[in-house]
Point group: C2
Chain length 441, copies 2
């Protein structure tokens, strides 16, 4: 096993540069741990002439990155191009056709085409690994696929998007509002120019769909993940949550349930939650990510670390390469694709829990009566309620607006949905209510 | 790979019973994930007739557990007998001699004989795995050996003993004193009748020596771990730490350094620390364990979960079995024993940091002057100092005693040691000072 493992690298952006730096910087210890050297032989990117601050002269260049998978001097292709389709997908298919292994950080491609690609990898008896696709440098996939492998996983959830967590924890620390903090995050490079994928929860949904497939042995099903982002969270919500002993975090949550016909169904939701301050996720601040897996024997496991960035992501990519160098050719989703269950999406209505509801209402008589009547008629029991002027929002023009925030007693989500339906279109509400679920200790 | 992996189980205590329950309860999903069934064929324990609440009639019984390793119907021996030497060690040697794999939760045996056993396993080309030996159900060894494998590990540390963490966090929550909380923990079964190994830090030292070997590629060296337990921590210390923004935790800490001759040296210490409230370990409460690894690319990784108990420990044991069923026969300490460095123990004197010092002194004039003069003469700079009556201790007879607690500015540990030397034997001190290091954010 002393022959080098030969890598081709497609994509030389931030993470690609990080992988090159890591493989060069830690070459000696990687060879000791992997049992053989890991070397880059060929590279490709969209633009050859761009200065990337690393010396690329030692590596063969391919203008057409899809060719990388066919090179005879390559054992593993590392795909860091991104995008669910296009060149990344073409490269992945070519790589497996050529009987070579693939390592990728491409969560969108796995969420959309993971089953097809895993099937191709299994047919070719080669490795297909994507630790870097979920939670950056954290070995969350390994933790689920191997560390917790003896357990029936009851649920898997976590803070899966560093941009959202940075924005929420900065709002928390400073009392500033969403748009303001987002603009600052963009200026600092913590958020993309087009932040939609992050702040609307799509990136977290990609990652959640991967985690839930491995945790539950179900076919990956990104399309059934319901995702709500953090755009509508106000500084006032954060202050209100804090007063109640909670922190607001965007949580991706997945579990399975048995329906009335005895079939297993898959629940997958990305949603801002009020996280109890005694829950370990409450203290995950800044761009940090964290994944929790609850197993029937191990109890609650938490994996926490940097969710993005060139160093952490490169760490996860190269950990996969070391596994491959050591001979790991396991099923990408823990069990073979053909054996994954095709679970239908779960109904959410009978899920039980507490919820935080926040209404922006006109400051006039009868509004509170209308809201509380809707709650009563829908069977929602209110645990606490607070009404305050919308000062926390900092807006000048909406001084006739007040916020009504309440926390419900534990009850079925269907009752909340019914209350929302009853209030739909009410002229008293200046915008649709914001519903957030509570994650208790 | 559809033939079952056949297990022999030595030791049927709490964890052994948990392994049987787990393998029986989760048999179907284990077979799916492992690619083949994992079945128990033979068992052994000291006392055959004891009622363990599980049906053992389906398993062959051996009175002499060492025979388990030689049975032709066994692929892997699971050793859950405990003890650094004796039957556990004999069984481990026999197992490798017979060319079979070994899984164990026995931290003491690995701390003392891990290198010898790993050498035997490597010679026999069989697996030797011990995830359950460190931090119970947390896949901390896997996290270091595989998840963080691409990184030079800067330091590895954590909360490695659930009994101590339970006692400290209960003292914190209730304001009660050590002896009182220990007695309660013993009554509840959270602490052993003889708690020495736990509360004096020896158990944590066993675990730390295993983690540091894997993290740094150094030969396991339990004997050079310095260990101080938590017996001398007072409720008053916890209150004082809290006022400063810290929580007291027993931390096992390891790193390496290059000495003046250019040789790498290994630092390993178990010691109660003041942990800053913004450090993730500050919020690890109760019997929970947590391991932090800081890598040169990944940054800070945290692995947290149940550090003991039959379910979590069984989860780690069976995770090892699944790895073996999947074909993993890697080097037990990440790199082969012959390639591990023999690092000499580090000197601690030039380590720099802040420290908390607490003195129990007679309440009479001049004592504070004596202590602060010793600090000045040793070059220790004091950041804050508080003197108070020993009320927090609850003792009736020592009302003439006062506590003087201080936090130093950052400086070399050698200066603290010198100050302690200057005060040694002083009639003003009713007991030796307590020194705790600070773990900053």
């Amino acid at each position: 096993m002393s022959e080098p493992l030969r890598i081709a690298l497609a994509g030389l952006g931030t993470v690609g540069g990080g992988v090159i730096r890591l493989i060069e910087t830690n070459a000696a210890l990687i060879a000791r741990r992997a049992g053989r050297p890991i070397v880059i032989t060929a590279i490709s990117a969209r633009n050859r002439s761009k200065d990337r601050g690393v010396d690329l002269s030692g590596y063969a260049w391919e203008d057409d990155m899809v060719i990388l998978g066919e090179r005879p001097d390559v054992d593993v292709v590392v795909e860091l191009v991104g995008g669910a389709d296009g060149p990344a997908l073409a490269l992945a298919r070519t790589t497996f056709e050529a009987g070579k292994a693939l390592v990728t950080a491409n969560k969108a491609m796995i969420a959309h085409h993971g089953l097809e690609l895993a099937g191709r990898a299994e047919a070719a008896k080669v490795a297909f690994k994507f630790e870097a696709a979920v939670a950056g440098g954290i070995p969350a996939i390994k933790g689920l696929r191997e560390g917790a492998a003896a357990n029936r996983i009851e649920r898997v959830y976590g803070i899966l998007n560093g941009t959202c967590n940075y924005i929420l924890s900065t709002m928390e620390d400073t009392g500033r509002d969403f748009a303001d903090v987002l603009a600052e995050a963009q200026a600092k490079g913590y958020a993309e120019a087009d932040p939609t994928f992050d702040i609307d929860g799509i990136d977290a949904a990609h990652k959640l769909s991967i985690l839930s497939s491995i945790a539950f042995g179900t076919a990956i099903d990104f399309r059934s993940v319901t995702a709500t982002g953090i755009r509508r969270v106000l500084a006032a919500d954060i202050a209100q949550a804090d007063a109640l002993g909670y922190y607001i975090r965007l949580i991706g949550m997945a579990d399975t349930e048995i329906d009335a016909e005895g079939n297993r169904r898959l629940f997958q939701r990305v949603h801002p939650h009020l996280v109890h301050r005694d829950h370990p996720l409450a203290h995950v601040d800044g761009a940090t990510n964290a994944v929790v897996a609850e197993g029937n024997f191990v109890g609650r496991l938490l994996f926490q670390g940097a969710g993005a960035g060139d160093g952490p992501t490169a760490s996860a990519v190269v950990a996969d390469l070391i596994d491959i160098a050591r001979g790991d050719v396991g099923a990408p989703f823990s069990i073979p694709v053909a054996e994954l269950d095709a679970a239908a999406p779960a109904e959410t209505g009978h899920r039980r829990g507490k919820a935080y509801l926040r209404f922006s209402v006109a400051d006039r008589p009868g509004v509170l009566a209308e809201i509380t009547a809707a709650m009563r008629d829908a069977g929602v029991s209110i645990e606490s309620l607070i009404q305050k002027g919308r000062a926390g929002d900092g807006g000048e023009g909406d001084s006739d607006q007040v916020l009504v925030a309440m926390v419900t007693h534990e009850g079925p989500e269907s009752a909340i949905a019914e209350a929302m339906r009853l209030l739909e279109g009410s002229p008293s509400l200046s915008e649709p209510p914001l519903v957030m679920h509570l994650l208790e200790e």
